[in-house]
Symmetry: D2
Subunit: 328 residues, 4 copies
């Protein structure tokens, strides 16, 4: 397979995941790493033979066919736009932006772009297997969904103010999953939430524990269960209740070793966090992006999906603020 050159924008937490996956993909070559922080790009450049560059230089290189936008959230939209307008295929970490208005305003400029939005759960092999069986209809028609998304530990104090809050930063993954699995748009959103984990989060006007209930026009119901601190690992589950049975994607445990004593059967804990749990999902996501870059596939998650999830996240916020169900 011919290798197409890729520029990575942002060598932070997500760039450290997507950059290597692209570099190791047989159809991509990591050519540039763009990061304003001095030295941040170096380790990736050293390891994969890439070059540290400015955004302008990377986008100006006609050999660069694709860009991975992994910068800070407030730069996603600016960088994605620049890359799209330079004619590159773009993978963009979620969310597009925290400001729905900005996202709506930029919408037209993404028409026809090869733009893949980073809702990684859609690429998790277990979740995909569940979706395929759902679509195959073996257990009948989908009626209700239960989505569990519990982070292991509360974010550091400085994270909250720029995060967009629980719903735009975290629940947004589940809102996208819900749309994908329900096959229908939610028409009503109700959210109850509390600050039980860290009072500092409450002082910053955010919540850390929430339950959201979505209803669709045909009567399907979906519960989203969120917490910022599970206390037991990264709990990521889907239960899909259908007319003739139930499909479940369970947690992944650290290993298969079990200790039996007269008191208990003790097995490994569930995986501790997203890098382990979604390792294969991140790879599959880049595999799909490579297919997009090579013109072999249309992006499975696009700009419109980013808008829809953001609108639902705002509906959660509005429901929480007003104490009523909201029509998004």
């Amino acid at each position: 397979m011919e290798r197409i050159d890729v520029a990575l924008i942002g060598a932070g937490r997500m760039g450290q995941i997507h950059g290597p996956n692209a570099a190791l993909h047989p159809g991509l070559r990591l050519k540039y790493v763009v990061d304003p922080r001095p030295g941040a790009a170096m380790p990736l450049c050293d390891r994969f033979g890439a070059t540290a560059a400015t955004l302008d230089r990377a986008l100006a290189d006609p050999g660069v066919g694709a860009v991975l936008v992994c910068s800070s959230t407030d730069q996603h939209l600016v960088h994605a736009l620049a890359a799209v307008e330079a004619g590159k295929a773009v993978f963009c970490e979620k969310p597009i932006d925290l400001d729905l208005q900005k996202v709506l305003q930029a919408r037209a400029r993404f028409d026809g772009a090869r733009f893949l939005l980073g809702f990684n759960r859609r690429f998790d092999p277990a979740f995909r297997a569940l979706k395929q069986r759902l679509d195959a209809g073996d257990t009948g028609r989908l009626e209700t969904l239960h989505l569990v998304n519990h982070d292991p530990a509360a974010p550091p104090p400085g994270f909250v103010p720029t995060s967009g809050g629980l719903f735009k930063d975290f629940t947004i993954h589940d809102l996208d999953l819900a749309r994908w699995l329900l096959g229908e748009e939610p028409v009503r959103v109700y959210t109850a939430a509390s600050c039980l984990v860290d009072p500092e989060i409450g002082r910053l006007d955010d919540v850390d524990t929430a339950r959201t209930l979505l209803s669709t026009a045909s009567g399907r119901l979906c519960v989203i269960s969120n917490t910022r601190r599970s206390g037991y690992g990264y709990d990521q589950r889907i239960e899909a209740f259908c007319s003739r049975g139930m499909l479940r994607a369970g947690n992944v445990h650290g290993d298969t070793v079990c200790t039996l004593t007269p008191d208990a059967s003790t097995a490994a804990a569930i995986l501790p966090g997203f890098p382990e749990r979604y390792r294969d999902a991140y790879r599959a996501q880049i595999d799909h992006f490579a297919d997009v870059v090579h013109g072999r596939a249309e992006p499975l998650v696009g700009y419109a999906d980013g808008i829809a999830a953001l609108e639902l996240a705002e509906a959660c916020q509005a429901s929480l603020r007003t104490g009523t169900a909201i029509q998004p």
Copy 2:
């Protein structure tokens, strides 16, 4: 142990469960079976050496120390009152009555009575084990709950009109479980529900699929997941999310046999219905009632619990009717 005579009122579905459990208990003797339907009492009388009798005769017998009220729902309150006023210890199937006003009006007459209400889930050994660990605090402070109560198959058409509807007939179990486990009263109730299983249920102005979200004053959240027809068995689960870990009571599968092939690992289905799933709970419930009858224990579930659960069920109905959250 001395055996105390018991009268069973109602030889229907629940009477067929509680009657034998009482008859086989070493501290109870099944003396009378009361049922207006000719012949209904006979099989139980034959099997356990009991006598078919009228309610009056059974209550007039001073040797009868305890009464099991297993009549039709609309007779629970009348029969329980008669038994209490005859000085008997009373076990009464849930709900006390479908009409909250009647239940409230009769309240004073149950003051001081030995009255055990049949919320069987509180006696399930797995649920009790979970409760004990919750109380022991090994996983920290309880924050949120997830209760799953899915019936295997929709009730027969004639059942709905007299059932009291999904919330008073079915969800009421979960509302009681929630109160028991949360250790706090819900202060806000939101319910979303649909008729997805059987349109006839909808025509009778009931729903068959619901999600209810309870919030307490301290910010604890509880989701209740209900359906009248799971399509895969009797799904009965509790998940209790705490500050330092999670406690889960899972489904019981039919056996431990597993078949491994290149395509799948196939294990037994979950238990099909309440008689199998709560077999041990029903026994433990009668064990506890025997302790009450013998003066060795106070009833763990009383008249006030019946009122509280009924009030919450009415709040679910009101939330569904108005589309808003309700303060019960």
Copy 3:
């Protein structure tokens, strides 16, 4: 169903299990309890309305159709013979006798008798389900077997001398299971064993830890894994490896409650001993015996099965003594 009177011989550990099961069976009535120890019969008599009696009296009662032989092992054969010659249907705890010669000599006198030998594992619902699937051939032809039979804790010191030793007392269950599942007689037996649990067992010339390897004429292989003290509960498992898949009957855990923490997923231990693990098997065994008593079934385990298992147990002993494989 007409109830047929039963006499229980022996009110010890096994009599306390089989007696109540017979008493509660709708087709049997526990009429006599025979036990030479003063007072031993009383609790069962009181609970089920039976009468303490001598063996002679019980066997002389023409209304007694069936006898449960639960006396000490050295009395099994004498009591079974007396009951058979009195024309009763006989359920006899295993083993028939520890002395193979005696068992062979008495063989002819059991011709035509309604005699059920107490190999309880054949009645375990999970093991029966596994056998049915094996016979149905869904996973192809059986090739090899793995049987695990680990007792939770070493027997009390006084037990060993009269027990018959590990193979005749304990492994004999697995030797019968192997014959039942293999559908072929073992033609070669090799046993390796040690005394690892309790040196006192070794001083009494017995072993407490053994592995036995059976081969059949068609080349099927079976491993039997035994220990007198598992250290973690009563480990009872079957794995049947077939040409197109594997069937497994796993351990039963105490409940379904699980605790998740960052360090582990902790579930209930396996059941601690045979009364819990084989509770349903013992009931099913008496159900089958009732069918035999009522003339509705032929005994599924007979005198010849007792001989065959005993012969294999002696082959294990001979293999251990000689260090070679033995043709039984």
Copy 4:
């Protein structure tokens, strides 16, 4: 970390696994690929920037610090010797050679060599976790072991004649595992085996189904369960029975998706073969080899381990031939 140059000898099935793992290791660089078959080295060279070379050239390069011997089994010893004598650190696929005499004769020439033998199971994360707990003694003293090693499907017809037979090719992994876990050498070996999978294997004087029973001087027992064709995937399990409990490393299933219906709970099959099952073990093995190459660790599996496993494999063969237990 400085990268040390590596030469890969053999670009076949195992070379395709170890070569990329070395190439992607931050402390190694894949410099040469040696394979006599024209073109066989090319894909690896292309992908990782290595050079196709003759053995002589690769060994003559003083920059090459390490060699991976992944040639055909009959070349392992020759290639390993050449590399050792050229002063390179050597990773060698198992077995060293099928001919024990040759291996013994060459022994002295490996004295002091940095030589790691490819018994991959010792590097499996789950097996290592089990070993650590065993060594930590949490479940007491090890008494018995059960090792399951079932290949998914019979090897192609041409494989058997040069394979060394079931014991030297396949069981040898378990013999090494047994030595590692028992912490004691087996002093007695008994093997029963059959040809049940493919009559052609029998015609070639080999077996495809075997059970081996090892005993140690202290009385520990170990069962090894082998088949060439499981019919349900790659069954790889360890059970370690200790004085106070049991440790188990179970199979890995393909994903966590489960389907519940009224008839069954259906989960994913176990992994189909060694590339998936031991993917992480192969990586950890190369990680360890890199530590050896960099002088940070002594090889965990050495030449003497290869001899010991081969001697045990010959004891299995002798036991099968003679029908008796063998002292290796």
